[in-house]
Symmetry: none
Subunit: 228 residues, 4 copies
DNA sequence: CATGAATGAGGTTTCATTCAT
DNA sequence: TATGAATGAAACCTCATTCAT
């Protein structure tokens, strides 16, 4: 785990005048634009400021350093996704696994796909060391939300909910990432929602089966067999 | 899609003597170590050379530039994984879905987990623009291998094999990444193999079912329902 | 001798209202405080204004630029000291050397020590190029005052009054600086007055002796010997 | 006392090749030159490098940051002076006060005056916060050397040697500074040695007198009287 | 008068890469 | 071949100063 100095990643000050708020918004949007057209390694504070129609100095009025700017952009993105997932999960409490999955995945994929460019480009930002904690914390919260939902499923119970939720969230995030980040063909992007639902539902149904039906001899679980 | 200059990413020359091979190995290992302790943004050629017990000059004897070194390290890693997957897939031709999945996932997870640190740290390298093509090409090959295997499954057929393989590969890579990259607790790392098998098998079983059993009204597939 | 642009170092306008005077006082005090806590290199106009409970704009209402503010603060300090010295010197005309010295030093040390923090911190400001002329001019005036006083000494005469006064002033300022600037222990600060008197009186007594008693062979004076 | 981060002020690496040593020397000399012609506030790393006929990068090979460079220059200067004082003091052990003073001051003034430009310009560097500790430490050592010498004086004893030495050192450094820093007329520079001797000898003779001859009533010592 | 947002020149520092030894 | 000193473009960030509100 790489060592590095902890930076305060908070914005430097809140804009008080209307003009200032406009500037901050422009910086935000410019950051995504630059990420999109130049990529993270060529994102410089000057370039962002220029794209926003502002000067570097202005950028630094609101963000103490480059990382804080990127952090803020990532944070907003993750908040949106997190919020979508939270609402979907809340609305699916006390329903069947199938409903839960279809509701959840639909919301998640819609949120991620809504601004496909932003999503694809922020994976690079998320990989930066400084974002690690934010990512982890977001993961924790999402898993809590999923666990709370799954516990109310009308047609399923899980022995090891923690692990199941961990894998479920991982599969959702991971598969989506695979599709979004690499710039997969539109066909695959369109197919994502249904197939992700299939992936998740297939998994959950398997894990919801009573443990007794599975061979559980030896250390860890054995490779599972299809019911013959 | 970000623009970027094309660099020749091939090593400058092949090491012919034993000493040279040792140097190259040391550079490889040093790269991983620096990535681990300092992170990609603080990986400098001098630091890598020092860690390898060599000088910058020597590094540049073998690689025309930094990117080439990183590229080579990533390539070796991907080759290993790819080779493991290829062999597993070949060995599972003409078997059941369950066998295929358990064989494949076991090999894939073992390969990824073998050097957990290397795997976790190379995701950052893979995110670099220059690696995109390598990643894509590796993905294509892996999918071809998987498709060839799945076509010989004794107990399943797939309407849209391309899409299924795309999602299968995505789920494998994505879920593994989620677990490996963020430094998940050991418990989850240990659980990965079985649950990834469950994820994949659950998905493939669902997709292998005859289309007629699913409601397919409208454009795209509808949210799927569990068989009541 | 370093070259530098000439700036108008005068305040921009004289405060006429009570409120304005309060602002100026606050700016003065804030300058000292910032100097104390952050040091000259980190003294910024915004920081000073904030400490003073004002805005940068307001600061620039009273001073055309940062140098002018610092200049003004230094000037006020030097005026105080100069005034104290002038009054003490005037009051000691036509007295003995010993009285002159004790009166003078007492006043000087008291003035410097009164606001020890201010004094200690302004040495840094005084070192700035722009202050050089102010320092020199202040030095000239002080020496004139001292010379005028010494000429009326009832018990001493000096061959080379210019030089003696130059050295006397230098010793006073220099020794005081050594004690004040480096943050000497309180014991030394307390001892300063008496010992500075001793230094000055010892020197003046020596220089007041008739030249004939000293060996003055060669260019310049020879190393002096104690009367055996 | 201003707060600020502690920086490692050590040079970054020792030059190993002859060429490198030449570069370091050039950087050293260039620093003084720039200080002389542009002043501390306009001393930039680029300017120093240019003047040295090198590039900024080279400068940063040997000094981790600007402060370290300035620190090194100041340190060398102080070492020279310190060494001169130490030798002079050592050579004057077990002699009379007068011999001690004349030996010491002669060496001190010669060392300071030898490179008058360097000395005058380094006062500004010494004022920087980062140099404070170096200054203090140098002061401590000098005082120890002076105390050791004075204790062996054949014709004098001191009640409070600590204080006397503190003031003696302060007077030496302070008066010299007053003369050197402000760019005093050559006449005064030439007169410095003799008059500084007079100042110091006058002071020490006074302080060496038996305490009983001084009025010591009340808090602290009273203003001293010339022996009538 | 006061405010504080905006500016942008300029300073510091890093690091990939070259090349004389 | 190996070394490591030197280069300099380019990035980050600061802060004195202006000016619309």
């Amino acid at each position: 785990m790489p060592a590095h100095r902890k930076l305060a990643l908070k914005p430097r000050k809140q804009p008080r005048q209307a003009r200032a708020q406009a500037t901050v918004d422009a910086l935000f949007e410019a950051t995504i634009q630059v990420l999109l057209t130049d990529g993270l390694p060529r994102l410089t504070t000057i370039r962002v400021a220029e794209r926003a129609g502002a000067s570097v100095g202005t950028l630094y009025q609101y963000y103490p350093h480059k990382q804080a700017l990127l952090f803020a952009v990532l944070q907003r993105h993750l908040s949106r996704i997190g919020e979508a997932v939270r609402q979907a999960a809340a609305s699916a409490h006390h329903t069947s696994l199938a409903t839960m999955v279809s509701t959840l995945i639909a919301a998640f994929v819609r949120a991620k796909t809504e601004r496909l460019d932003e999503a694809s480009v922020l994976y690079a930002v998320a990989a930066e060391l400084d974002s690690r904690e934010l990512i982890r914390e977001t993961g924790r919260r999402t898993r809590a939300v999923l666990a709370a939902m799954l516990e109310t499923a009308t047609d399923a119970k899980f022995d090891d909910l923690d692990t199941v939720v961990f894998m479920l969230a991982g599969a959702m995030a991971g598969l989506t990432r695979s599709v979004v980040e690499t710039g997969a063909p539109p066909k695959m992007v369109r197919a994502l929602r249904d197939h992700l639902q299939s992936v998740c539902l297939g998994y959950l149904e398997r894990e919801a089966r009573p443990r007794s039906l599975k061979s559980t001899v030896g250390k860890g679980r054995q490779p599972q067999q299809i019911s013959s």
